[in-house]
Symmetry: C2
Subunit: 191 residues, 2 copies
Amino acid sequence: MERQKVMKNYHHGDLRAALLHSARALLEQQGITALGLRAITRHAGVSSAAAVPHFGNLAGLLSALATVGYEELAAALEPVLEKGPHAAGLVYVRFAIHNPGLFTLMFRSDVIDRGDTALAAASARTSHMLTQLIDNMADHQPQRTRSGTRAAHWGKVHGLAVLAIDGLLDALLSSQGEEMSLEELLDDALR
Amino acid sequence: MERQKVMKNYHHGDLRAALLHSARALLEQQGITALGLRAITRHAGVSSAAAVPHFGNLAGLLSALATVGYEELAAALEPVLEKGPHAAGLVYVRFAIHNPGLFTLMFRSDVIDRGDTALAAASARTSHMLTQLIDNMADHQPQRTRSGTRAAHWGKVHGLAVLAIDGLLDALLSSQGEEMSLEELLDDALR
DNA sequence: GGAGATATCTTATCATTGATAAGTTCGAAT
DNA sequence: ATTCGAACTTATCAATGATAAGATATCTCC
């Protein structure tokens, strides 16, 4: 029967997924600067215009990748929803550290298209999850607004994630003579 | 004597400052995407290669601009050094909100050159100021490491700044029915 | 199971970008 | 006054994202 045809040139099979995979690989291996349309398609072994039917343009492709990021973050957050903000905060920051490029992309509103439907949905879902998580926590200080509490916790967690990715927390660690790992520092800071 | 020659084409006089001014104007008016070498030189009314003698390349120009940012942030922080972390946090976030483009640029390690001497110096000075400010504060919890305390405070303040710039705090405000301004929210969150 | 319609992918081209080399103009130092 | 060097321009290059036109495979409908 010979059905297992490789289908070389045309009709890749699942080029959409392949392009997202290539983009992610480039993103994590070479940084967000390497995320060009040509670099991505080259990595996937297709022509530079092959992404158009699936994503329209580069912003569309990156938006789809960021969408994956929001979904993965939500999925990572879900198991600790009942465990309170400390555990969830650690999960949030760990996700950022383990996927620095992807996490960075998720907040680069200048390269992704915030109007993208799927992206907006995934982003909103994750945000909703975060606020719910914060609201559910025990130590709600009555002296603070609910919004204030949300902003305070989300801000802290997000800031730690961003600073960790930028390597600025390592600088903080090495300057002080204290013997501790980044993980310990984060656990301490999130207390 | 007619000394007030306009000196049109050659030897601008202070092109370095003029280019930084143009870059900053473009940055705040049209966003970080508009910060191209040609756009900046066009705005300043010079040729696209005029920036080379002063900055080498685009990264050099943007690094110099980011350096200005770190210096201004340090200058804004200085008057509140004795007032504790609450006031200083507000100053930090206000600086970010009033100079969103510049603040964003200061943490875009992919477009600026972290090896730039002046940038590294200004950045280190500001960081030093921040850690000193946090260390001086009264409510040092003994259960936390010094590094942990630094990370916690810097993280929170920085996260709030980043989220505010991205408009995500406004989203947080509007979702909740509470009647409060962004400034009030920040003041509350920094408590 | 055959034919036309349709989506996918390629090739070719365009305007624009950052970098660079070579040439021009000005100021400064000897 | 002349030379030297820095500042600036013009011209050119490779590379980018977008797009139009063409080729090919799959799908639908009869």
